[in-house]
Structure formats: structure tokens, C-alpha cells
């Protein structure tokens, strides 16, 4: 059962008003069980992993590896296929710098979509600058969905080598037809990477069913701590990859002249890892398992439907990405008002929102708006919170509405 009381922060106030946390696509609030796992780790078990013969080291290594098993089971992977990283960004960079540097040649094509987060664009632009690959972007329809006909054409190119796309955009919230696209890519022999940074919080993910080569996400978006994330890599593909960072933990043997490396996943985890983070992420997965994804999805569908119904009563709001089948992530463009003003002023009322381009500038360019106001909900949000948000937004609009900004109107499509 969904209980708001599981999340201690939801009790707090901002300027004397109840916290309405609508920034879950940025980071999700932490259940007490996760917070407790961190305190418990530092109070009772703190030691380094995989090192030394002491009972504490053994205990903490067991906890760390149990977390790897929990995380693996959470996405249907084997523990050896789970590499702990700092988050989605580091995971994608790891793939670009190991697999990309080794497997790609000048002129090879990496296919992204226009809706990608900068974390799934920049590492590939950097790779382009290093070795001269080409980037192609799957174009979007006006409703924010992938143009599948154009995607097929890109996949058909004989130099196409990698498909790297997000399952759910952090701006649009649209659930993309990922399985279909992955199948097309696989048939053509492309390697595939799924950015699950947003989808992991909403959808049941199984890497066996998706049959992707890589899948990446951040722990903090599912209630885990910040600074811990995951790179799933299919066993066969990880076995062939060179190490990423060099240092302790990842080596078998070192001499003054050479070194040999451990197998995956340890080969990719140089230095003392984020032990507390991994343990906290394990606790977050266990919390979500107990809640059951079907219950989370059902609740989020209700919230999505209610939000859309209410927001559509506001004629001065335009939603980016009008396609059906969304998780509760909504990016709004407000007539005559900049998103920063709305986020700032609604923030004073205790409503926590994100304004800007949400690290997806090419996508905002596509919609021809410089910025949007994003409300992203989680299963612990309520109808009352949506009502409060909509009422305050209406009030704010009335205070701002006089000045017609022609250029803005035209670009935003009002």
C-alpha cells in the first residue's frame, strides 16, 4: 500500500505551507527504509569492501554484494552484469569511453533521438570529436513521439553501429515504443543502449525482455541516495570491454611495469566504491518491490489522468508532448510568463517545480521554446496537491496577464 508517511520529508513545510513536491523527475524523495539503511551502515558496518580479512570487511562486502544481487533482480539481470557507477551520466560515459573507443571507427553512426537528455548526447559528441563518428537523431512528430519511419531509415544505414535512446523522456514523459525499436536495431546487428533514468521510476523493467546490450539508470530517481547508479551490460559484451578508470579494486596483479585486470563487474569499479550508496539503492529496490509496480503504475495512471484533466481547464497552458501514454511528467509552457517566474513564485507557495530546459536543449529547440515549467509527480503525490497547483497557477497567470508578447506567442504556438 502506498503510504505518504513512509517519506519523512513530505511532512515538512516551506514558508509555513505544506511541501508539494512536484520535482520527482529531478530526484525522488527517500523512504525511511532507505535513510535507515544508510544510518545503519555507518553506525554498525562501516569498513572497506573486498579488502582485508577482518570480520567487518567480510560483513560489508556481503552487504554490498547483496545490494548488487537485489539491483540485478530488480531489472532481471545477473549480478555480474551490474556495474555500480555514480549515476546515469557516468554509466553512459563509461560505455562511450570503453565500448565506443574500442569498437567504433570514423564514419560509424550512433543513433540517438531528438528527445535525449544531455547525458545521452554529450558523451557521443565527445566521441565524435575524438574519433570522428557521426551522430544521427531520430526525429519527432509534433506530439513528441518518435518518427518510426525515419528511425527505420537511420537503422538501415550500413554504418549504423549503436542505438542509444531513452525509454521515457525527462521532459515529455511519453513512454516510447522501445521494444519495437530495439527489435529493429537488433535485426540489423546494432548494439543497443537504453537510458532508463526516467522509466526506472515508473515502469517494470526487464533487460531479458528488452534484450538490450546496455541499460543505465541513477539510484536517486527511485528513492536511493545520490551518487550511486547502475550500468547493466550484457555478460558477453562486458567480457570484451577494456577497463574504464584505473586504480585499486579493479586489478588482479600489478608490477612496476604492467597490470592485469579483474573480470566484470569489478574491472569497471576502480577505487573504493560508494558503499553506502549501493546499500541504500538496494534498500530502495526492496521498498519498491514490496509496494509492487502494478500498484505504483495504477496510482500514477490516476494521477496522470487527473492532472491532464485539470490542466486542460487552463487555456493559457500548452503541454509539450501531447501523445497519449505518459508517466506523470508534464512540461508546460505558460502564455506571457517565463517558466523561471512561475517556478520561483510557486516555490514560495511550497510547490517545488523545475524550470528551464531540463538538460534537453535540442528538444526545447524542436518545440521552439527556450524553457518550460516541469511538474513531475510520483505515486506519493495527491489529487489535492494537483488542485492546489492548478489554483495557484491560475492566480499567477492573472497577475501576469496583460502584456502580449507577440514573438513569444508565435514561437510557442498560441
Amino acid at each position: 500500500m502506498i503510504k505518504r508517511s513512509d517519506f519523512p520529508i513530505l511532512k515538512r513545510k516551506i514558508n509555513g505551507r505544506p511541501l508539494v513536491y512536484f520535482d520527482n523527475a529531478s530526484t525522488v524523495q527517500k523512504p525511511g527504509a532507505v535513510i535507515k539503511s544508510l544510518v545503519d551502515y555507518y553506525e554498525r558496518h562501516n569498513a572497506n569492501v573486498h579488502r582485508g580479512m577482518s570480520p567487518l570487511a567480510a560483513e560489508v562486502t556481503r552487504l554490498y554484494e547483496e545490494s548488487r544481487q537485489t539491483v540485478a533482480a530488480f531489472i532481471g539481470a545477473a549480478p555480474a552484469e551490474i556495474i555500480f557507477t555514480r549515476g546515469t551520466t557516468e554509466s553512459i560515459n563509461l560505455v562511450a569511453r570503453t565500448w565506443g573507443d574500442r569498437e567504433l571507427r570514423a564514419g560509424d553512426i550512433v543513433i540517438l533521438s531528438l528527445a535525449e537528455h544531455h547525458a545521452n548526447i554529450i558523451p557521443w559528441l565527445q566521441l565524435r570529436d575524438r574519433i570522428g563518428i557521426r551522430l544521427e537523431y531520430i526525429p519527432l512528430h509534433a506530439d513528441g513521439t518518435w518518427n518510426m519511419a525515419a528511425a527505420k531509415k537511420l537503422l538501415d544505414h550500413k554504418r549504423a553501429k549503436l542505438l542509444a535512446v531513452s525509454q521515457v523522456s525527462n521532459v515529455l514523459g511519453i513512454i516510447n515504443p522501445l521494444a519495437e525499436l530495439l527489435k529493429l536495431a537488433r535485426c540489423r546487428g546494432l548494439v543497443t543502449l537504453v537510458d532508463a533514468a526516467q522509466s526506472i521510476a515508473h515502469l517494470q523493467i526487464n533487460v531479458q525482455e528488452l534484450a538490450c546490450d546496455f541499460l543505465v539508470f541513477s539510484g536517486h530517481k527511485i528513492g536511493g541516495p545520490t551518487g550511486i547508479g547502475v550500468l547493466f551490460g550484457r555478460r558477453e559484451i562486458l567480457a570484451a570491454l577494456p577497463p574504464f578508470l584505473g586504480g585499486g579494486e579493479m586489478i588482479m596483479e600489478v608490477t612496476t611495469k604492467s597490470f592485469s585486470v579483474k573480470e566484470a563487474p569489478f574491472r569497471f569499479e576502480a577505487g573504493t566504491p560508494n558503499i553506502a550508496g549501493a546499500i541504500g539503492l538496494g534498500a530502495a529496490c526492496r521498498y519498491l518491490n514490496k509496494l509492487d509496480n502494478r500498484i505504483i503504475r495504477a496510482r500514477e495512471r490516476e494521477l496522470t489522468a487527473y492532472f491532464l484533466k485539470k490542466i486542460r481547464t487552463l487555456r493559457f497552458i500548452k503541454i509539450l508532448g501531447t501523445a497519449k501514454g505518459k508517466v506523470p511528467i508534464f512540461s508546460l509552457v505558460i502564455k506571457n510568463m517565463h517558466a523561471h517566474d512561475a517556478a520561483d513564485l510557486l516555490g514560495q507557495e511550497g510547490i517545488i517545480l523545475r524550470s528551464g530546459h531540463h538538460c534537453a536543449q535540442p528538444l526545447h529547440d524542436f518545440f521552439q521554446v527556450p524553457a518550460s515549467l516541469r511538474a513531475s509527480l510520483s505515486f506519493y503525490n495527491t489529487f489535492q496537491e494537483i488542485d492546489f497547483f492548478v489554483a495557484r497557477l491560475r492566480e499567477l497567470y492573472q497577475a501576469f496577464a496583460i502584456k502580449p508578447v507577440k514573438a513569444f506567442k508565435k514561437r510557442a504556438g498560441f
Binding site: 510568463m337 517565463h338 523561471h340 517566474d341 520561483d344 513564485l345 524550470s355
Partner: protein
Amino acid sequence: MDIYAQNIMDHYKHPRHNGPLAKADAKHRALNQSCGDDITVFLKFSGDKIKQIKFIGQGCAISQAGISILSEELPGKTKKEVLAYGFDEIKKIFGIAISERRYNCAMLGLQAIQRAIIDKG
């Protein structure tokens, strides 16, 4: 609910000195890439003093009201005085509390003016 101070909303809705200046002595366009705030200023000088400021732009209320206020307040000041202005002076001129997170919005107009002065030598 608390909206911005009256003068900010007034300048935002009714910007002063809005529009280009054909025979400007200096001009500069300043952008906040991350949010799309966009201000182009046109300056006329009289000796070492600023004689006239006009601007075009779009963006949030703080940035747009801000440049409108500056277009009223800065003419008559010397270039040297204006170049020495910082966040403290802006807060004083705007007459409102500006949080750190709106620093870039608040400073954009001043930065455009200062850059125009510097580029002109």
C-alpha cells in the same frame, strides 16, 4: 499569493524605452543560454556620460523589468560609475529582495550595458 513587487510587475507589463535605437553609439546583445532570457541594449553617450538607453528583449519578469528600470535610472551616470556597478547596486535600484537563484536574471541587463560600454572603449 505573493507576486513580485509592484514596480517589477509594472515595468514588466509596461516596459519603458522599449525598441531599437537607430543611431546608437554602442549596442550589445546578452543572453542567458540556459533559460532564453535575451536582451539587446542600445546606448547613446554624451561625453563620458550615458545619455540614453533603449532595449529589446524577451524573457522572465526579473530580466525584462530589470532592464526597463535601468533604462530609466542609468542615463546621466558616467560610464565609469556604471562599470563599477554589481549585484548590490542592482538590488538597491530594483528595490526588491532578489534571491541568489535569480542572480543571472537580475544581472543580465546590467551586463549587456557594461559590455556595450567596454566594447566601445
